[in-house]
Amino acid sequence: MYTDLVMDHFSNPRNVGEVEDPDGAGQIGNPVCGDVMRMTIKVDDDRITDVKFKTFGCGAAVATSSMVTEMVMGKTLDEAAEISNRAVAEALGGLPAQKMHCSNLAADALHLAIEDYLTKAGRSGDVAKVLGKKASS
C-alpha cells in the first residue's frame, strides 16, 4: 500500500513538535474528516530556518507532514511556496489513490504558516506575491 519511504517517514517522522516562539503557524483539516495538520515555522531573512509539525491522521498524513518539513528546511519563502501537495506525494514515491485528497494537505498547512508569518510581519501585501494562487490550492 505505502512505499518504503512513506513508511520510513511515518515510523520515524522528522521534525515533530512545535518550534518555540514560532514566526508563523498554519493548521488545516478537521478531526471529523480524520486529518489535522499543524505547521510552525521560524523565518530569518525570508528563509525558513526551522519547521516542525503536529499531525492527527493516517500514515499518509504523518508522512507527508514529515516530508514537507524536510523539503522546506532552509528554503526561501518563495521556494517553499513552490512546493505543492503533489510534489510532496511524488517525493515520497507516490501515495495510494484514496489518500491523495484528504491526507495530502501538508504543503497547504505550510503555505498557511507562511501566510501567517507574512501577515504577522505586517506584509499582508506580499501574500499574493509569495504564494500566488497557491495559498488556496
Binding site: V16, R38, T55, C58
Partner: protein
C-alpha cells in the same frame, strides 16, 4: 519479532486439519459433482458430506443449506433472492449491518423498496421497541446481524425473529461473525434465513452458505445450470465446501472450551487497555458481545496510525477509522451508536482467536501504551492533563 494476530474478525487462517481435508480435492479428487462418472460421484459425495456437516452445526436439515461464494453472496441471496418474489414493499435492517446487507438494502431501495434502518443504542443493541414499531403491513423481511463485526455486540435474535413473525414478516440474520464463535440453533432462534462465511471460522475464503428454512421460498440471484437445487448456479467449489464443513464441525466441537477462554482473554485485554491508557472508552456492549471482540476508542489519535504502529511491532489489528477502511467514511457502526466521528477515527479493534494466548495479551498491553503516548505527542488535538 513476536507476531500476534488479533484480526480474526477480518479473516482467520485455515486450520491445518481443515486444509488436510481439502487438499485431495484440488489435484486428485478434482471431479465435477454434476458428472456421473466415478470422479464426479466422488465429488458429489464430498459436497453432500459438507452440506450435512454445515446443517448439523446449525441444527438444520441438509436441504436447508445452500452454498455460496461467501458471506456477501449469502446476504445478497437472502435479501434480494427472498424479496424477488414480492412486489416492492418494505424491509427493515438494523443501522449497523455489514455493508453486504446494508448495500443490498440500498440496492433494493433503488428497485422501489422502502427500508427502515432500525436504530441501536450506545452499546450497539437494537432498540427493540423502535424495531417493533417499524413493521408495516407490507414489511416482508427484517434483517438484523447476529453479532456486529466492529464492536462485537450480540443482538437478541430470538426476540427479534419472533417480533418479525408476529408481523407476518420473515427474518434473516447475518451470522457471519457468530457462526463457529457462539452456539447457534436455527430452530431455537426461529430465524428463516441465516448467512455464514468460511474464512471467518478457520475455513477457506471463497465459500459461504445460506440457511433457508424449509418453507421459505427464495429466488436465485446467479442464473445458470441450476446447481444447489436451482438456488445457486455455478460449478460447486468442492474443496471450499469440504473445508467449510470440516471447519464448522471443528469450531462447534471446540466452542465449550474456546468460548470461555476467549471471553476471559477479551475481558482482560479490555480492562488492561482502559486502565493503562487515559481517555479511552470501550465500544460495544460490555458483556453481550462476541467472545473474541475487544474494541475501544482512543482519544486524540487516529486508527490507521495505531494499526501501522502495532504492525511494526508484529501485532495485527484493525480500526473503524476512515483511513483504515479505505472508504473515507468513519465506521457507520460507531457513528450509528451515537459516537462522534473523532471517536470513530480513534477506534481500534482486536479480535482474538484460537492461537492467541495470555502472553499475546501481555505483549500487547506492554507495547500499546507507548505507541499511544507517541502518537498523542504528535497530535495537534492532544492536550496533556
Amino acid at each position: 519479532m513476536r507476531t500476534v494476530y488479533f484480526d480474526h474478525a477480518a479473516t482467520t487462517a485455515v486450520d491445518p486439519r481443515v486444509f488436510a481435508e481439502m487438499e485431495p480435492y484440488f489435484v486428485e479428487r478434482y471431479g465435477n459433482p454434476s458428472e456421473i462418472h466415478r470422479l464426479g460421484r466422488e465429488a458429489r459425495e464430498a459436497v453432500d458430506k459438507g452440506r450435512a456437516q454445515v446443517a448439523a452445526a446449525l441444527g438444520a436439515a441438509d436441504k436447508e443449506i445452500v452454498f455460496t461464494s461467501g458471506g456477501t453472496e449469502a446476504d445478497n441471496l437472502a435479501l434480494s433472492g427472498f424479496l424477488q418474489r414480492f412486489e416492492p414493499g418494505h424491509l427493515i435492517v438494523s443501522a449497523i449491518e455489514h455493508p453486504a446487507v446494508m448495500e443490498t438494502a440500498r440496492y433494493l431501495m433503488r428497485q422501489g423498496w422502502e427500508a427502515t434502518f432500525a436504530p441501536v443504542d450506545h452499546e450497539g443493541t437494537v432498540d427493540v421497541d423502535a424495531y417493533a414499531a417499524a413493521f408495516r403491513p407490507d414489511t416482508r423481511l427484517a434483517s438484523v446481524m447476529f453479532a456486529n463485526n466492529v464492536v462485537g455486540t450480540v443482538q437478541p435474535i430470538k426476540e427479534l425473529a419472533r417480533i418479525a413473525h408476529e408481523h407476518g414478516a420473515a427474518f434473516h440474520t447475518d451470522a457471519v461473525q457468530a457462526v463457529g464463535a457462539m452456539p447457534i440453533d436455527v430452530d431455537d432462534l426461529g430465524v428463516d434465513l441465516l448467512s455464514l462465511s468460511g474464512h471467518k471460522l478457520y475455513g477457506p475464503k471463497g465459500i459461504g452458505a445460506l440457511y433457508i428454512r424449509r418453507a421459505t421460498r427464495v429466488a436465485p440471484i446467479l442464473h445458470g445450470g441450476g446447481h444447489e437445487r436451482r438456488l445457486r448456479s455455478g460449478t460447486e467449489n468442492v474443496p471450499g465446501i469440504v473445508g467449510l464443513g470440516a471447519a464448522l464441525t471443528l469450531a462447534v466441537a471446540a466452542l465449550p472450551t474456546e468460548g470461555p477462554r476467549l471471553v476471559a482473554l477479551r475481558d482482560r485485554l479490555t480492562a488492561g487497555l482502559l486502565a493503562s491508557i487515559e481517555d479511552t472508552v470501550n465500544l460495544g456492549h460490555p458483556s453481550a458481545r462476541l467472545p473474541g471482540n475487544v474494541c475501544v476508542s482512543v482519544a486524540y489519535i487516529e486508527g490507521e496510525s495505531m494499526v501501522l504502529q502495532l504492525d511494526a511491532k508484529g501485532i495485527a489489528v484493525s480500526s473503524g477509522s476512515a483511513c483504515a477502511s479505505g472508504s473515507l467514511e468513519p465506521s457507520h457502526v460507531i457513528l450509528g451508536m451515537g459516537y462522534r466521528a473523532e471517536e470513530a477515527h480513534g477506534s481500534v479493534r482486536l479480535t482474538l482467536g484460537r492461537e492467541n494466548s495470555d502472553a499475546d495479551a501481555d505483549y500487547f498491553l506492554e507495547v500499546f501504551p507507548p505507541i499511544v503516548a507517541r502518537l498523542r505527542e504528535m497530535s495537534p488535538l492532544y492536550v496533556k492533563r
